[in-house]
């Protein structure tokens, strides 16, 4: 199996999710990375440590902005040039568009939301949770190339060391692929560790009652050494920045511990955090949906419980 892994990068760093997919790919077959855009050659060098034997890089001006369609052109050209039979992506807003466009372009099969990839009698099989993660479905491909999007956080990057050969390549872009243009980019930065990389996340929802109560969440996160996340409702209300939003229109996270404070657990939020290792929920409504999928559910007033818990964690760690 020859696998291409789409390696997304942001501010000169390869995304952790992509490195996880790369490590997985290296365990399944011969894995090469693809890095596109400004500084690609430089960024590409770091992929060797995660199992790539080769990285294809293209720094064409048309790939400078994080837009999907020129990337479809680049990957389609590479699949043809290398004869790769599998192309893997770590899910993101950009990667989902690239994978979908590439599937249409190559008339290929795309499976998404995969939490694992295995070889069964030499054939690639994807594991996809369904029905609100209550069952896992085995999915396959009936033709090559096979395209797959892995759920965010599905695979941990495994640093094995090793160097990599970087090969620059050229792309002929389709006429329609460069029509969309980036006008402006606004980065939202939250303080503290990023929620995608955090092992522990403390999240706040509407049950906090007021934006000021987010300090309770921040203090608990600080005590646990974790990051702060928020639901769409409180982001829309302006209580917390969008960069911390978990859920369907925000980020997908998979920390070891997720503490949900005043979060009802609507499906839109659930899809962003359901793969957390352990979920602790504090909510005063005993019928909140989050109690159906958390590990430890606490019915009570978070304004009482959270500050107490913060104190207890601090003295435990001291």
């Amino acid at each position: 199996m020859t696998i291409l892994v789409f390696l997304e990068h942001h501010r000169g760093e390869l995304e952790k999710g992509c490195l996880g997919v790369l490590s997985k790919a290296a365990s399944l077959g011969e894995a090469a990375g693809v890095v596109l855009g400004w500084g690609a050659g430089e960024v590409a060098l770091r992929a060797g440590a995660f199992g790539a034997t080769k990285v294809y890089a293209c720094e064409d001006e048309a790939l400078a902005a994080p837009l999907p369609q020129p990337r479809v052109d680049a990957l389609a050209a590479l699949v043809e040039q290398t004869g790769a039979d599998t192309v893997l992506f770590a899910a993101s807003v950009l990667a989902s568009d690239v994978a979908a466009g590439l599937a249409a372009r190559l008339d290929a099969g795309l499976n998404w939301d995969l939490i694992d990839l295995v070889l069964s009698d030499g054939e690639l099989v994807g594991k996809r949770p369904a029905l609100g993660d209550t069952v896992v479905v085995d999915v396959g491909w009936t033709a090559s190339p096979r395209l797959a999007l892995a759920r965010a956080g599905a695979f941990d990057p495994a640093e094995s060391g090793g160097s990599v050969e970087v090969e620059q390549f050229e792309v002929a872009f389709s006429d329609f692929s460069t029509l969309a243009t980036l006008v402006e980019q606004t980065q939202e930065e939250s303080s503290g560790p990023s929620i995608e990389d955090a092992d522990i996340i403390v999240a706040g929802g509407r049950g906090l009652g007021s934006p000021e109560s987010f300090s309770l969440v921040e203090e608990l996160a600080g005590a646990l050494g974790g990051a702060v996340a928020a639901t769409r409702a409180v982001v829309d209300a302006g209580w917390y920045p969008y960069s911390t939003q978990v859920g369907q229109t925000g980020k997908t996270v998979s920390p070891k511990l997720y503490v949900a404070c005043g979060i009802s657990g609507a499906i839109q939020h659930k899809v962003g955090m359901q793969s957390a290792g352990t979920i602790v929920a504090i909510n005063k409504d005993p019928n909140a949906p989050i109690f159906d999928f958390c590990d430890l559910g606490v019915v009570g007033d978070l304004h009482q419980i959270v500050p107490k818990l913060t104190e207890l964690v601090r003295s435990h760690r001291a």
Partner: protein, 258 residues
């Protein structure tokens, strides 16, 4: 301005969903509704029409009975519907679905094609970008606000890192997120009026597609096996009697999480 909105009928959110063990497909026999994010796309189309004039055309791939769900979007204010209903298309994966919708959209010849970003019945947020590639049109996804003028669209895309403003000339494809607006409820007048609005049903062959490009025959992916239900482990639920904070600490310490 002619705006096409791609909508999909999905099992109603309140219905307990199941996968048919025989076909390994989602059982769609129960109560159905329009995919929630598609309502945001319909709402956005109506707002553009109200501001600029024009026509809103619904385009859908689904069973014959999906016309009932389309009726709801017509009641919101869409002008007409084009439903691709064909037994041969049942079980289509992304390949077949994107072929059928692209062909239907070529018929409509819209200036702007809107999608809801993701469907609630297990589809990835991938259809808009796939259809855009088949139509050879620019695409903007995950759009939280949209500005339209005679010749172009500017969409505000929400990403993992913040917001991107992306501009594209018309005709273009845009996938909207549920953050873009609050869909209206149909008025009584709208509901009455929807009954007389034109709704056309076409087959795969009507669109000039061979049946082998859609359905299971045209799929490039396959469902191999349904696994056993996933156990989340033992759930513990307690009521706070003053000791909840200590119990939470004990729980996470025991699991080496603190």
């Amino acid at each position: 301005m002619k705006i096409a909105v791609c909508v999909k009928q999905v099992p109603d959110a309140t219905v307990h969903k199941r996968i048919d063990p025989g076909t390994k497909r989602l059982d769609r026999s129960g109560e159905a509704a329009l995919n929630p994010t598609d309502l945001n796309a319909v709402e956005e189309a109506l707002r553009i029409k109200e501001a600029r004039g024009g026509e809103v055309v619904l385009v859908s791939l689904g069973p014959e009975k999906a016309s009932e769900s389309l009726r709801k979007a017509l009641a919101m204010g869409a002008d007409r519907a084009l439903l691709v209903a064909d037994e041969a298309a049942a079980g289509s994966d992304l390949r077949g679905t994107s072929y059928a919708l692209a062909k239907a959209l070529e018929r409509v010849e819209a200036d702007l094609v809107l999608f809801g970003q993701a469907s609630s019945d297990g589809d990835g947020a991938v259809l808009g970008a796939a259809v855009a590639d088949r139509l050879r049109r620019p695409v903007i996804s995950q759009v939280a606000s949209l500005r339209v003028d005679e010749t172009s669209v500017v969409g505000k895309r929400q990403t993992e890192h913040g917001y991107d403003l992306i501009s594209a000339p018309l005709p273009a494809v845009v996938a909207v997120s549920d953050a873009i607006n609050e869909p209206r409820y149909p008025s009584l007048k709208g509901i009455m009026g929807a009954k007389s609005k034109p709704s056309e049903t076409v087959s795969i062959q009507d669109l000039g597609l061979s049946p082998e490009t859609v359905g299971e025959a045209g799929s490039r992916t396959t469902v191999l096996e349904l696994g056993p239900p996933v156990a989340r482990g033992d759930q513990v639920k307690i009521e706070d009697d003053g000791s909840a904070a200590q119990k939470i600490l004990d729980y996470i310490v025991e699991r080496r999480l603190a």
